[in-house]
Amino acid sequence: MRSSPSEPAGAAVAERPRARGAAVKSEAVAGFDDVTYEEKRKLFEEVRSDLRFPDYLYGCYECGICVAVCPSARFYDFSPRRIAQAAARQDVELIYQQMQEDIWECSQCFSCLRCPRGNNPGGIVTIMREVAVNHGLASAKEALEGYSRIIYKIMSTGTQVSPDMLQPDAFPDWGPEVADVSNQLALWRRALPPETLHTTSTGWDVSDRTLIELYLIWLETGALDMIRDVDEGLHMILEEVMEERLEEEGIER
């Protein structure tokens, strides 16, 4: 069984940006000079203090297996190896650059778990994304543009994709069958034998009590507040929907 070292290499965070080797982008490329080093370091500390971080990083052989199996590396200027190495070196500047430029390209397939050292670059990306969302970074706002409807659906209904999302103007590249489904939706849903699937605006019929429990989870864990800086309008709408429902049920928080 693998054991985690007590701390990753170079555990103390450097006070100043360090010179980088030729294998990584230069400081000039890193950019974001308008953001202070202290701010970048604060974000990295949030990444590093996540409970999961020590389980996701064990060092790097530089073998490149994670890159070879990474779908995003084939189509973007993205490298799971650079993610793991920047985290291991605690390269505050590069990590900030990755949070602004790279992390939303990851496919989250976790093929990189094939790492012979046991690293989880995809997991590190998950944590970096959470921090980027929590702080309303520009990359998070850009990545989630056009995505509000999905967040609204999952947080307010408990199912992420619904039959009525299948509309030809939203999915013109999915073929003419999308229009057929859209035109016949209510009828075709009633033709499904499982009784829970007759819905059109949710994946299945979710009970009221279950929704209330879900709202409590989003509110109690701070998940709803995470989107405040990324999409203020959506946050306001969802908060209102949830608070109103809880109030109707006489549930105090």
Partner: protein, 397 residues
């Protein structure tokens, strides 16, 4: 290309169960926490028949045959409803009872991996709320979605490892008035199909001996917390997960391999919804075209929501560009249902799919034109108000 097991077993990167790298069995910690009163472990109900299946590192896994709580998939139910319907239909035909709950939410992991607008405590609480609901019903959870399955395994690992996370989630569960519950095994529906493959084959009414299949194994099934996934020495020499392939072989189909089998489908979670140029490119160039060139399958079988969606829907645009695509895509649950005589539209709901499945149906001996008329006749009854819904009896009529 037939499966070159001898070649696979000679590769220097072959998988071997090295005793030094076998992960600890999570049950030790699970039962320790149960003994200390930290959580409840839901056992497979007494008296339920169980199949023991082999997993990657040799630990036997218990899969219950019946009395199952179906943890549905939002992507399957929403966009590929024949996927869920086929799972239920096969279970009904084999005579195993189940619960199709309304007090279930999505695992919400599709959104989490897409947008990160959640955190580990919320994700764990969503998982435990569903598990507690299954426990209270007395039925054992069966997870339909590959991502739910993978994510719940991650949640289990995090909960077992981090007392501070357990404490945080416990406070939420107390507010909900629900207990902290984890099941003794997290079971994916494709594991149920693997375990029951011989019973399914015994009920087969259509000959699949002329059907060529390629299999796309779902990343979140076997790459996330890999020790739970089924690996069978008799399938691929134990080098790849055995689910889907073992079922297709039991049904008499010819499974052919291809070089990019390890690649993901290109789903990408956020990409499939808001950055589909990546998804379409990856799905067609790295998966479908390679399969066509190297294996020329009649159908691509897979076992996860995102993979069926991606591999099926991505072909239309590529076809318009004259690429070498055009092959049916479905879950092995739909494939098994068709083998057992299910209606291609009333049960398998193939009209929700995009890639052309009709040549496959013809090869299976199914008159799809006649079947479509039958479906439309039933739908017309709904339209005229003669019926409100089609029932299980209707779809077998």
């Amino acid at each position: 290309m037939p499966i070159p097991v001898e070649v696979m077993l000679k590769k220097k990167e072959r998988f071997e169960r090295d005793p030094d790298t076998i992960p600890a069995d999570f049950h030790d910690e699970l039962f320790r926490l149960e003994a200390e009163g930290e959580l409840i472990v839901q056992r497979i109900p007494d008296g339920q028949p169980v199949v023991e299946v082999p997993t990657k590192y040799g630990r036997p896994k218990r899969v219950p045959k019946g009395h199952l709580w179906h943890h549905k998939s939002c992507g399957q139910c929403g966009h590929i409803p024949g996927y869920s319907t086929s799972i239920f239909w096969v279970m009904r035909k084999l005579g195993y009872d189940y619960e199709d709950p309304r007090d279930q939410t999505s695992c919400t992991a599709w959104n989490y991996y897409a947008s990160a607008t959640s955190n580990e405590a919320a994700q764990a609480a969503v998982a435990l709320r569903n598990f507690a609901t299954a426990y209270e019903s007395g039925y054992f959870p069966l997870i339909h979605c590959g991502t739910s399955y993978g994510h719940y395994k991650e949640v289990r690992s995090e909960l077992l490892r981090h007392p501070e996370l357990r404490a945080q989630v416990r406070r939420v569960m107390d507010k909900l008035g629900k207990p902290m519950v984890l099941p003794e095994e997290i079971v994916h529906y494709s594991e149920w199909f693997y375990a029951l493959r011989h019973e399914i084959a015994a009920r087969q009414v259509r000959d699949f001996s002329g059907i060529a299949v390629t299999v796309h194994p779902a990343c979140h099934y076997y790459k996330l917390v890999e020790g739970d996934a089924i690996y069978d020495p008799d399938v691929y020499g134990g080098q790849r997960t055995a689910v889907v392939t073992a079922l297709a072989e039991a049904l008499g189909a010819e499974v052919r391999t291809y070089s990019t089998w390890f690649d993901c489908c290109g789903f990408g979670f956020r990409h499939i919804l808001v950055q589909r140029d990546f998804t379409r490119s990856f799905a067609t160039i790295r998966k479908i075209e390679v399969m066509k060139e190297e294996a020329d399958p009649d159908v691509v079988l897979t076992h996860d929501t995102g993979c069926v969606t991606t591999l099926d829907k991505s072909q239309f645009a590529a076809q318009a560009h004259g690429r070498n695509v055009g092959v049916a895509v479905m879950s092995e649950a739909q494939f098994a249902a068709l083998a057992m005589g299910a209606h291609p539209y009333k049960v398998c709901q193939l009209h929700w799919h995009s890639a052309d499945y009709r040549p496959l149906l013809e090869k299976m001996g199914i008159d799809w034109e006649k079947a479509w008329v039958e479906f439309e006749t039933d739908v017309a009854k709904l339209e005229r108000g003669e019926k409100e819904f089609l029932s299980w009896e209707d779809v077998d009529g």
